[in-house]
């Protein structure tokens, strides 16, 4: 057996160019499968992962969504917040003030929305998922400190804002103590264009303490819808209106996106199927060609006394080795390609995500390389080994 392996290896090495081409042919096919699948999984995971991380959240706003626009109808009261605290199943509640303010930085002015709230609770909602790039998060006694979103720091003024820079918000002076990372898509609208203050400071700066936004976290995601309904009911009761409050669970947001997932899945399966077919045809083609052009050699081997089985063993070993190497190279190329594609595509469409390389995709790729490679090497070898030696020798 060692002898045969050696012989097969010799034969591969001696036809270096041909072998490299065959390996590449297989590798490209496998790389296509691996990279496309990994990019697809990466996209899917980027979206689902983020949503499930937020699935226990309910946003409550004093207004309603008509069509695509949000119409504010007023503000919540402390009583609303206290009432919500009495609803079972709620983990925490954050009440926020929220209003536009005139902000000045190095003699340039811009209108920016300011968000104020309990620092611990607010931090719990945003700091962990988004992350602080520079400085730190707010403390309870940061009456003159503020934390700003990425766009506030980089886009809103001519000059980039750094930690310890001074901002004037509605004539009150503040020092920037922290700057958020650029938030991913789902948090971007909540964090990037905002300035965050402590509740106390925001009351001062905005000259009001109206609660414009309440975020609720529940213990049991399955109960989220129920709790959201109860929240709306209580607040509506308090204000004596039918549709004063609007509450949206992340679950329903995810549900709204359900169709999107179906499409993504469908596209993913489609891509995989196409990649599989393309890869298989490519592998078959290179393998068939490389074995078929050796029909003459097979004839010679048979003429000098090789049995069909001997020839088949030899060619099977050869195509297994070539397929194996092709598969491994293909997996490596595929992973590299997936990383590059996700980077490029990520920046192009503005969603950051990284390719997810699943072991089953790699194994699947190897399996395709081996099965398709070996079978399409086996088929012409068997055909040639079944010809009479004369016929095969004459074949050119």
């Amino acid at each position: 057996m060692r002898d045969k392996l050696l012989m097969a290896y010799r034969s591969i090495r001696e036809r270096r160019t041909r072998s490299i081409l065959t390996v590449l042919g297989i590798a490209v096919g496998i790389a296509a499968i691996v990279s496309l699948m990994s990019v697809g999984y990466g996209m899917e995971e980027a979206i689902t992962g983020e949503l499930t991380g937020m699935a226990d959240m309910i946003s409550v706003m004093p207004g309603k969504i008509t069509g695509h626009a949000y119409v504010e109808l007023g503000s919540f009261t402390d009583r609303d917040v206290n009432d919500l605290q009495r609803i079972g199943g709620i983990k925490d509640i954050t009440a926020m003030t929220y209003d536009a303010a005139e902000v000045e930085y190095r003699n340039k002015r811009a209108p920016i929305f300011v968000l104020g709230g309990d620092t611990k609770e607010l931090g719990g909602f945003y700091v962990e998922p988004v992350g602080i790039k520079e400085g730190r998060w707010l403390r309870e006694n940061d009456f003159k400190g503020c934390v700003i979103g990425d766009r506030v720091a980089n886009d809103f003024f001519d000059e980039v804002i750094h930690v310890n820079d001074k901002l004037i918000i509605n004539d009150e002076k503040f020092i920037v103590v922290g700057i958020f990372e650029k938030a991913s898509t789902l948090y971007a609208s909540d964090v990037d264009p905002h300035i965050f203050l402590t509740l106390h400071a925001s009351k001062e700066a905005l000259q009001n303490d109206e609660i414009k936004y309440i975020m609720v976290r529940v213990y049991n995601i399955d109960k989220a819808e129920e709790i959201a309904e109860e929240i709306v009911e209580r607040i509506n009761d308090n204000h004596g209106l039918d549709d004063f409050a609007f509450a949206m669970t992340m679950g329903s947001a995810i549900e709204m996106m359900g169709d999107v997932f179906k499409i993504i899945r469908g596209v993913l399966v489609g891509i995989a199927a196409i990649a599989l077919v393309v890869a298989s045809i490519g592998i078959m083609n290179t393998m068939l060609m490389s074995v078929m052009e050796r029909t003459h050699e097979i004839g010679v081997m048979k003429a000098i006394g090789a049995k069909s089985r001997d020839v088949l063993t030899l060619f099977l070993l050869e195509s297994s080795m070539v397929s194996l190497v092709g598969g491994v190279v293909g997996c490596v190329l595929g992973v590299v390609a997936a990383k590059v594609i996700s980077l490029v595509a990520g920046t192009a469409i503005g969603i950051e995500f990284s390719a997810v390389v699943k072991p089953e995709v790699l194994l699947g790729g190897m399996a395709v390389a081996m099965v398709v490679g070996v079978l399409s090497g086996f088929y012409p070898a068997r055909k040639a080994s079944r010809m009479s030696p004369v016929e095969a020798v004459r074949y050119e």
């Binding site: 001696e14 050699e297 000098i304 009479s388 030696p389 004369v390």
Partner: protein
Amino acid sequence: MIRTENLTKVYRMGDAEVYALHDVNLDIQEGEFIAIIGPSGSGKSTLLNMIGCLDTPTSGAVFIDGIDTGKLSENKLAEIRREKIGFIFQQFNLVHTLNALENVALPMFFAGVKRETRLKRAEELLANVGLGDRIYHKPSEMSGGQQQRVAIARALSNDPEVVIGDEPTGNVDTETGNTIIDILEGLNKEGRTVVVVTHDAEIAARVGRTKRMRDGRVLD
């Protein structure tokens, strides 16, 4: 040693039937050196392929050592080609990715001979045909005559009783041709049965018996 009985090979070309061999009855004795001559297309190669077990007849039979080869399995036929017969082609038909040594060792490889043993024997065989200094050359790095000598060494690797050559001198110059005939003559002297097809009258004159073919038939 080798006997054919009403050996017939018919090729069908569309509606036409070509009798490449037509009821050939030939008896080749053990230890004989026989040359087959005849015009192109008379069926010489077809006949050699049949007695070399490289092809199967349309009808009739080939007996080797009294065994009807038509009744043997594919594997048995491969064994006969490997052990009993050494075949030399006009086109050499070496495996071009292997060097001279490995080409000569190839039939032993298929016979399951140990690596060291077969390489050693292959080296001896190459030395016997005067190629002791060319054992690591690839076919592409050798002249036609040298390639043909490698092919002869390969034909001898499993020590066959019969050596068959289909115009073994057809693609080499006269001088090399003579060397090759010398080698074949030597093999015959060792007791092997040698069958060659040739166009060369000089070769034909040197062998024990010549048979002339025409239109698929062996003439008396």
